[in-house]
Amino acid sequence: MTLMTEPRLDDPDLLFETLVDAHLDLDTEASRKLDACIVLLLANHIGCVETVRQAVRMARSIVVARKP
């Protein structure tokens, strides 16, 4: 399954708000763990490790390129 990167979300603002709000009362360690839980749940939902690997590569190319 090829990673889809065209716009697909039905409510982008709600998604962003949901992700950010989930961290509001958490310290750094709990925050990291929350993100990890979300990634693992979504990865299982996708069900294809290769698709997740494409997302990891794409995300890294953005983060590593922008690193000061």
Partner: protein
Amino acid sequence: MQSTYTSPRYAYRPTSDAGARHPVIVVGGGMVGLTVALDLAQRGHRVVVLDDDDTVSVGSRAICFAKRTLEIYGRLGLGAKALAKGVTWNVGKVFFQDRKVYEFNLLPDPGHEYPAFVNLQQYYIEQWLVEACGDTGKVDIRWRNRVVGVANDPDSVAIEVETPDGRHTLHVDWLLACDGARSFVRDSLGLPFVGKVFRDRFLIADVVMKADFPAERWFWFDPPFHRGGSVLLHRQADDVYRIDFQLGWDADPEAEKDPARVTARVREMLGPDKPFELEWVSVYTFRCRRLERFRHGRTLFLGDSAHQVSPFGARGGNGGAQDADNLAWKLAAILDGEAPETLIDSYDAERIPAADENILNSTRSTDFITPKNAAAKAYRDAVLDLAEHHAFARPLVNSGRLSRPATLHGSPLNTADADLWEGGVPPGAPAIDAPLRGGWLLRELRHDFSLLLFGDISDFPEVALAGPRIVWVPLDAVEAMRRYAATRGCVVLIRPDQHVAARWRHFDVTAIRTARDRVLGHADIAA
């Protein structure tokens, strides 16, 4: 400290054959060296074993004997002893902090002679191997004989041996280096042994106690009695329990071995009222590494001298036993003149991928158990928390992927399926056990080439021409039929190490002969 077992002391005997040439010399009379020596001897070959000590392993060391290893020891005549003395287990439980998050059963399918695992201290296996080698009358174990020099010439290997009576030289056609992770033979040939070191330390404590822990593998991440670290508990024979504490990289290995300190850790785990005695204590750092090749001319490396893994998954001793199992029949066939010397190259072709599989699995386990940074720890803890409530996360929990037999995918000795098979045991896989005639299928295979014939003599009119020993599987042996995905008239060719070489849905004498020749290295397998 050791109270449940007294190590035998074997007598040194002065050497009377200085300068002699032997067909096979094994360096290192440990578990792997003695296993390959016994296998060769049972195939009719004389073997000299050189060991720099005069006893068996000190401490329990390799304790988890996997089903495949038990089957190999079964073939060598030690399986029943291991079953009787050892602790059989199939279930593993994983705990995170104060709760159980995951449980697995490694052998839910009945109808096998051996269970998924038997826990047994390594010294028992070594002692029985020494005795069994003696029974063959073909193994000359030379205690307190230390190899101090190796000249690996193309036609034969010369070794310098140091004994209490001085030094002498021996010559050998095939040198089997089974001298462990710190192999002298490997170092003296200047062979690089590369891989990775894990920045962590583990305390291994064997304690003797009357406890009510079931015969299961229990693994804790971050338990209340050892915060921040992991703990592994295994039950062994003689009421000995193996407890493995993760200490972290900054721990002082000498201070951690102090019996008072170890006792305090164990008491914290078991509670203040539980009596126990320390049997053996050791502090380890783990490595995963291997030689680039296991064959170097006439010198072959087996076990830890060839490859080293972290212990999570019990892939060290079990990997070494499979090395011995893979090499012995090949060497015997060459010595008997049945196979060309090039057959030995298939040892590399088959055991290097197996070693890589063991290294990959044990590296991943160690990376799960010892997270490298805060992000890795977050993922690890997220998996453990999710696993308690959600089945999808349980396969992600990695407290050790326990040793599985190597399937020799892509081996040049395999004959690929020409017929259609749905499941069953493909070429390269070890033969699977099943009940047969009130006994066991694997027992009937023994250590020669065998043909499994499914049906009876009326289904195989040309059977007299087959060549290898026949093992009939009647159609009412339903488990065997199912496990091999067989129907009436099917044929499976089994190698001397009980791996499947080829299979057919119909009997064909020419195909069987060609496949057998291929196993013996007569086919052009250079590609």
